[in-house]
Symmetry: C2
DNA sequence: CTGTTAGCGCATTCAT
DNA sequence: ATGAATGCGCTAACAG
């Protein structure tokens, strides 16, 4: 009973370094020296080794190398949800940087469940030299404990005071502040804020920005909401009911959901109500009206996490923290409140 | 010079199975037996081993296990672009299924460059037991050659006639046909098609669907376009210039770009022109008007790829091919052409 | 039921 | 400059 001649049928066993050595008429050690370049090898054997490697299609077994070197040349990335383009972008940033350094990327999706973050990180840490943890939802206490068990743990969008976990994070506080500033300049005095998950570190940071920006000339009304577009869709009515002239969403996703609801309701944006997002996902400039938001380069976030990962390996000293300041991008979803139409000069912005 | 007491400062060396054995007062083999459950172990030693494992926080070294077993319990996934939520979703599907089977996922991003696909797959194949290749752009010839070098290669959205590469793919042909049918039912007779990348397998499949659907009562005008939203934005004017009453986009992304352009132009959808997408990305139901498209469960695609991956390991016989038929979802971006308004009964659909 | 031995594939000693 | 020997951490095959 013969096997198919093409495709996956007959598969020759993988060549080992011994096969190559035999084929080239040298010792395994010489093959290794040629491949790693660790010690000089004279031209003759070198050529024969290279030829044998090519002929056999030999590639060293990473597991064996890892076992010997005690290092894997791999980095783990734990994300709450790969369906969320935000995390997919961060992952891409890490992966690209890692590939550049000849590192592999292992990925785990926790399905937004804080309970599985720990196990996922622990598991990946056995396969990789370290782990990048994106927006971990676990408690501060768990995180600290995890950092003790995982070599080279780097956080994205989660800062931990008192511990030395390296982290790169968006300055949500500053982002929220710039949105508030923008809305106040337009003349808004009462803004509804569509809250994200209460336990999220980024939400708490936003709250700090809100507290700093609130004052006699800017009232913030908090609306429980969530982080998805359907959350935004659901919370839109409550936001409208507050009689606020502007709605500030936790994220672009939430804003887009709210926008869809406003559209269903026949509420015009920005004529009747202004709307802002956060993150500047690609679709925010495609919807109508184009969304005013705050922009952050997610791939860059991932790239910086990689850099931290590399640095951390070097010393293992106190965890450096990189803050990335997002930038306000004013588009068409914000305008002066209806009762002030014409009382302010038109702003010349990216419309 | 003391190290920091918290966080990443002092790190004890990883415990090995020998440490555990010593700690429990047994031999390494017994520890292994307790952990793998390969052979029975009496209660006393078992308890001591478990306690020692917990105390030392021991976890077996996967590299060593892999070396011994000749298998890695990992699967590689190669995608053209992680920024594209389509691929991120497929990746999530694979990852979730893999995690369920206690497999790790390695990911590589080729940056849409066909030239790097081969290397990425080859590289991952050394670290994993096999590779899932998403929408490979490489030539048929390269793909066949790659399949011979990579154990357990599975393709997503790329069928190869003549070879036995297992694959799961969306039935683009049927999807396009159902859109054509829908538009013809509405009364459209002239449709502009915004073409995807000419070399893409999925585009060629769409063309087959188009050829089958075209006829005396349905003319298809081809417009070179691309696969991104900016491509759609750019090609929108040309589509309008054809005087077609409906525009059929290669994908939802392209459609969203075109929609944004129509909005800028003041062209009303669907009153002046109907518009359709393909894929049903989450934002298609949030834009205004909500996009008529064809839906496919991308995570399911990934899950099925995983299943194929598992099956392939079992026999290694001829590659099974799974076709996933997408479903038309009619929303608000399609209607009867303007010159036929009122001449057809309103369709009762998801508006 | 348990301990001892050997070897997975490789890089790195140490000899030559 | 090269070859032979050693061991990374683990599990499977033997012995007891």
């Amino acid at each position: 009973m013969g096997r198919a001649q093409t495709g996956t049928g007959a598969r020759p066993p993988r060549a080992t370094i011994i096969d190559v050595a035999r084929e080239a008429g040298v010792s395994p050690a010489t093959v290794s020296r040629v491949l790693t370049g660790s010690k000089p090898v004279s031209a003759g054997p070198e050529q024969r080794v290279r030829a044998a490697v090519a002929r056999l299609g030999y590639r060293p077994n990473p597991a064996a190398q890892g076992l010997l070197r005690g290092t894997t040349s791999a980095v783990g990335v734990v994300v709450p949800d790969l369906s969320n383009p935000y995390f997919a972008e961060v992952l891409k940033g890490v992966t690209n940087a890692a590939q550049h350094a000849d590192f592999r990327t292992l990925v785990a999706d926790t399905g937004e469940k804080a309970a599985t973050e720990r196990d996922a990180a622990l598991e990946l840490s056995r396969w990789a030299d370290g782990v990048v943890l994106c927006s971990p939802r676990m408690s501060q206490w768990e995180l600290t404990e995890l950092a003790a068990a995982v070599p080279r743990l780097v956080c994205v969008n989660r800062l931990s005071r008192g511990t030395s976990i390296p982290a790169v994070a968006v300055d949500f506080e500053a982002g929220v502040a710039s949105i508030c500033h923008h809305l106040r300049e337009l003349g808004h005095r009462r803004v509804a804020y569509l809250r994200g998950p209460a336990r999220a570190w980024s939400e708490r940071a936003r709250q700090r920005g809100l507290r700093a920006a609130a004052g006699p000339d800017l009232e913030i009304v908090q609306i429980p909401c969530g982080s998805s577009s359907v959350d935004g869709h659901r919370a839109a009515d409550a936001a409208l009911a507050t009689r606020a002239t502007a709605v500030m969403a936790f994220s672009d996703y939430v804003a887009l959901g709210a926008l869809a609801r406003f559209d269903e309701l026949g509420v015009s944006v920005p004529d009747e109500v202004s709307l802002t997002g956060f993150d500047d996902i690609s679709l925010s400039r495609l919807v109508s009206p184009r969304l005013t938001t705050v922009t952050v380069n997610k791939q860059d976030l991932g790239r910086r996490a990689w850099e931290l990962f590399v640095e951390t390996g070097a010393d293992g000293e106190d965890g450096p923290v990189v803050m990335v300041t997002p930038e306000l991008v004013v588009r068409a979803s914000t305008a002066a409140p209806a009762d002030m139409a014409g009382s302010l000069p038109k702003t010349a912005v990216d419309r």
